[in-house]
């Protein structure tokens, strides 16, 4: 069984130099940080808000807030983790506003067995994603992840897509480590269940040729 590696974006010492320069008022250094992380922030914002305009606003607001509050960044965590925390808060505010939904919460109680047990056990075809064109695959992946509750979706995106550690995800979302782990397991299992519909091995009918 392979180990799932997480990636840390960028060179940390170089990043720290950019942050220090930006703190001293070097705006081009801050621009380098924007270029380094704008794609990640946009993706996280779009995953949480599920709305393009909101995601655009979140990217702008998050970087502006980061710039305004650089003095408060102590360097105890990575700049990226600090930035993501700002972006996630902005995105959740947008989501709550648009949905007028009080259930959009990171710390809601999810201590139920629902969704924690796999229902679909069928094995998948080898390289199942290759059965679909890229645009079809993107649509399947988008619809599938959109069906998850916001709390699960956010944990999955930060942890598994953006490569934050469990500890960083917990810190970013203001959750305990067990709470992150519980949400991550449910998110992974629910996505797996839902994707099985598209990716499971199909039984050959009489007359069909094996590919």
């Amino acid at each position: 069984m392979g180990t799932i590696q997480t990636n840390v974006t960028g060179d940390l010492s170089e990043e720290l130099q950019l942050v220090q320069a930006a703190k001293r008022g070097d705006i081009t250094a801050f621009e380098q940080l924007v270029k380094r992380y704008d794609r990640n922030v946009f993706r996280i914002a779009q995953h949480i808000t599920q709305n393009r305009e909101d995601a655009e606003d979140v990217v702008q607001d998050a970087f502006l807030k980061a710039y305004q509050n650089l003095g408060q960044f102590q360097g105890n965590s990575k700049f990226y983790t600090w930035l993501v925390r700002i972006a996630v808060n902005e995105a959740l505010m947008k989501l709550r506003k648009r949905k007028s939904d009080k259930t959009v919460s990171m710390d809601e109680d999810v201590e139920t067995e629902d969704g924690s047990v796999p229902r679909e056990i069928a094995d998948w075809s080898p390289n199942p994603e290759q059965q679909y064109k890229q645009s079809e695959l993107n649509e399947i992946l988008t619809k599938t992840i959109q069906g998850l509750p916001a709390g699960f979706r956010t944990v999955f995106v930060l942890r598994d897509v953006e490569g934050l550690s469990t500890e960083e995800t917990a810190e970013t979302l203001g959750l305990s480590i067990p709470a992150v782990k519980s949400r991550l397991l449910r998110a992974r299992l629910q996505l797996r269940d839902r994707l099985s519909r598209f990716f499971k091995k199909t039984k050959l009918k009489n007359g069909d040729k094996q590919q």
Binding site: M1, T3, R39, Q46, F63, Q134, L185
Partner: protein, 83 residues
């Protein structure tokens, strides 16, 4: 080991953050339990697919537009920090 025990350790198993003894027990379970084997493989594949096919790529034109907006706001803040 029961399947529910395996499932409760699945995250750490996939993330490679288990102690070697427990990892060996989980691997042993996978040898004879086909259901857990399938769930484990397809969950790993789920993560891999989402990681490799990143959704919501930022288009170049929008990226340029956002950059300009961000830097223009930051410049204003720098020039006029009280506002």
């Amino acid at each position: 080991m029961k399947c529910t025990d395996f499932l409760s350790e699945l995250n750490d198993f996939l993330d490679g953050s288990l102690d070697p003894k427990l990892k060996a027990e989980l691997k042993e379970h996978l040898v004879w339990c086909h259901n857990c084997y399938v769930v484990c493989n397809t969950t790993e594949k789920t993560i891999e697919i989402y990681r490799e096919n990143k959704l919501y790529e930022l288009p170049d034109a929008l990226r340029t537009k956002l950059h300009q907006a961000i830097m223009s706001k930051c410049t204003k803040v720098k020039q006029n920090p009280t506002k």
